[in-house]
Amino acid sequence: MRDWKVLLVDDEEEFVSTLAERLALRGVEVRVANNGKEALQKIEDDPPRVVVLDLMMPGLSGLEVLARIKRDYPAIEVILLTGMARSNEAGEGMRQGAFAYLMKPLSIEKLMEKIGEAMKQHTGKVD
């Protein structure tokens, strides 16, 4: 088992649960949140090292969640997911300190790669 604690945030339950299962199969310690509020709650309970965050969510939007994470937990790295329709938002997210952004549909290999890079970055920050 790698020591990868990841929080997946997406309003599409089918998507997020399946993705979580796949990541778990690859030895990632995954938790899931279906909206921004829940995500912030789960981060507060037990801060992960990396958050994979969908930008398009009802209620608290991805960008808002990102801003709060960066405010309260600057060490946590955030990988943004986007349908790319509003890539301005992705750009904005990057400016606010997101680690990377990925387009849906994802390739699991690419996601694993980015999570791996983010983990390294995180470790660097913590050390």
Binding site: T18, R22, P105
Partner: protein, 578 residues
């Protein structure tokens, strides 16, 4: 009121051209109506003024010409009257100064007659007639003694009026003469008549003294229209005047008439108080009004000339106006179409974005489910029918991949609508853009040279927008050069923050005036084909990308556009996902 509304309606109709009239016909309608209107408002006052002037001049000139004629007639009439009054006074004097017996004595009468002839010109004879109308005595060349006049009209008239002056007649003597008779009443109620004859030579002298020119004529007629003196043109003494006898007027009057010979004449005349003569002067009108006719033809020439100038001007002006209108209509339409087109594109872009996004989410789920299936198969050691299932999953994943390609293409199209910053190699963008024009360059034998700096810094900018900018400028360069011309593109590092791109052509170049307006919207030198939007859009894009654009040009020496682009986007931007 009615006229006013009518006029307003007519003018309104001229100005109001229905929108639904098809284009070419519409312009010819506008042209026609503006021409009519302008001609109306310019030529109408001119015509009115010309007419008014014409009449004023005519009457003024006529007065000027007719006044001397009147004076002449009046003067001559007075001379005639003076002459006759003088002769009448003489006869009256003889009648009063001498007694009946003196006058009845032929010897005495002859003596008186002799003195008379000596002193006063024109007397032919002198005689005494008693109350019975019998010639008592006579002095003169004829033997008239004893002749009885009692049944003659003049004798009765002299008895009634006391004085009688006859018209001209030939009488016994076969040359024109006038008789003057004066009645003398004695205190006892008896009366006698002194009768004298004078010849009319003096009349001719008086007429000659008017000094008329050869085409004109002067004469006396009586109220019956019988000539009392000879006329050069119309007849001898005692012939009948072939023209009309004018209405009675003792003041000199002037009429215009066509005479029996068909000449337009001015006829000046005046009636005498006594005897019933009318003095007439006839002058050919053409001659009298010569000055007027000259003036009239000059006026006409000026009028026709100015109307011609006005018509030409109006036609030319209207032509220019309508051409301008047409051109601006066309330009507006083109611009409108351009805007419509970009609106359409951006709507399509928005739609495409929406669709792509909506499809992406379920696609992501399918992708993950299939991925999970694959994972499960792979992670389970002896999965039954493992290869078959893996094949199925791969087919699903490949289909998702295809869908992804489609949605990406859609999003790529939409991306052109908004500024989309990515880190890119400027040289590559230029090469790509030049690729669009390769065919045309080949076809027109244009040398398109790229001097691209090696190792040029990558910049954060918008690929699609840059392509549009470069394409615009290259298109303009291609339009400016002849076949076989040269266009060179160069890139270089300016400083830490900026890179430069230049486009140099050897085309026609631009004047200073054109240069000033080159980035203004709707300014174009490509009459009819350009929208005047290309370079203004280019300018807008470069500015939006945080860059700058400069242009240098001289007529005949080609044009150089230089674009300076920031390496980093103005508002900062994201990593590339690609």
């Amino acid at each position: 009121m009615d006229l006013k509304t009518n006029l307003a309606q007519t003018f309104g109709r001229l100005l109001d051209i229905p929108e639904e009239v098809p284009r070419p016909k519409r312009y010819s309608l506008i042209r026609r109506n503006i021409t009519i209107l302008m001609l109306l408002i310019t030529v109408l006052p001119l015509v009115l003024m010309a007419l008014i002037n014409y009449h004023q001049y005519q009457s003024a000139l006529r007065d000027e010409i007719m006044a001397p004629l009147r004076v002449l007639v009046n003067k001559t009439k007075h001379s005639f009257e003076l002459f006759l009054a003088n002769r009448l006074a003489t006869v009256k004097f003889i009648a009063s100064a001498y007694s009946y017996s003196d006058l009845a004595d032929e010897k005495k009468l002859n003596k008186i007659f002799r003195v008379l002839k000596q002193e006063i010109e024109g007397f032919i004879d002198l005689g005494l007639i008693d109350s019975n109308g019998v010639q008592v005595s006579y002095a003169g060349p004829y033997d008239l003694k004893g002749k009885n006049y009692s049944d003659q009209t003049w004798f009765h008239q002299v008895r009634v009026g006391g004085v009688y002056v006859s018209g001209v007649f030939m009488g016994h003597r076969a040359f024109p003469h006038v008789v003057i008779a004066v009645q003398h009443l004695t205190d006892s109620g008896q009366f006698w008549v002194v009768r004298a004859t004078i010849d009319t030579k003096r009349f001719d002298q008086l007429i000659a003294s008017m000094g008329l020119d050869p085409q004109s004529d002067g004469f006396l007629i009586n109220r019956e229209g019988v000539f009392q003196t000879a006329s050069k043109l119309y007849g001898k003494v005692l012939d009948t005047f072939p023209e009309w006898v004018p209405p009675v007027s003792y003041e000199p009057a002037v009429f215009e008439r066509l005479d029996s010979k068909g000449r337009a004449v001015l006829l000046a005349y005046a009636y005498f108080d006594n005897p019933d003569f009318i003095l007439m002067v006839v002058k050919p009108k053409a001659q009298v009004l010569k000055a007027w006719y000259t003036l009239k033809s000059e006026l006409l020439l000026v009028f026709v000339g100015s109307v011609l100038v006005i018509v030409l001007l109006v036609l030319r002006l209207t032509h220019l106006l309508v051409e301008r209108l047409k051109a601006s209509d066309e330009r507006r339409e083109l611009a409108y179409r351009e805007i419509q087109h970009s609106h359409k594109l951006s709507s399509i872009g928005r739609l495409a974005t929406g669709v792509a996004h909506e499809v992406n989410n379920p696609m992501a789920i399918i992708n993950e489910k299939a991925g999970l299936m694959k994972d499960l198969i792979e992670f389970t050691p002896d999965f039954p029918d493992r290869e078959k299932f893996l094949g199925l999953v791969r087919a699903i994943t490949q289909s998702v991949e295809r869908c992804r390609a489609i949605t990406h293409r859609l999003l790529g199209f939409a991306r052109r609508m908004d500024v989309e910053i990515e880190v890119l190699n400027l040289n590559e963008v230029i090469k790509e853009t030049a690729g669009f024009l390769e065919k045309e360059a080949l076809h027109r034998n244009i040398r398109l040279r790229l001097h691209l700096a090696e190792g040029l810094s990558r910049i954060a900018s918008d690929r699609g927008q840059l392509q549009q900018v470069f394409l615009n400028i290259l298109n303009n360069a291609f339009a400016a050069i002849k076949d076989g011309g040269l266009v060179s593109v160069a890139t270089w590092e300016i400083d830490m923050d900026r890179v430069g791109v230049s486009f140099q052509d050897d085309g026609v170049g631009m004047s200073e005036d054109t240069l000033k307006h080159v980035f203004e919207p709707f300014f174009t030198t490509k009459k009819g084909t350009g929208t005047g939007l290309g370079l203004s859009i280019t300018y807008g894009i470069v500015k939006r990308l945080g860059g700058d654009i400069q242009v240098q040009s001289k007529p005949g020496q080609g044009t150089r556009f230089a674009i300076f682009l920031p390496k980093k986007p103005i508002e900062g931007a994201g990593n590339s996902h690609a």
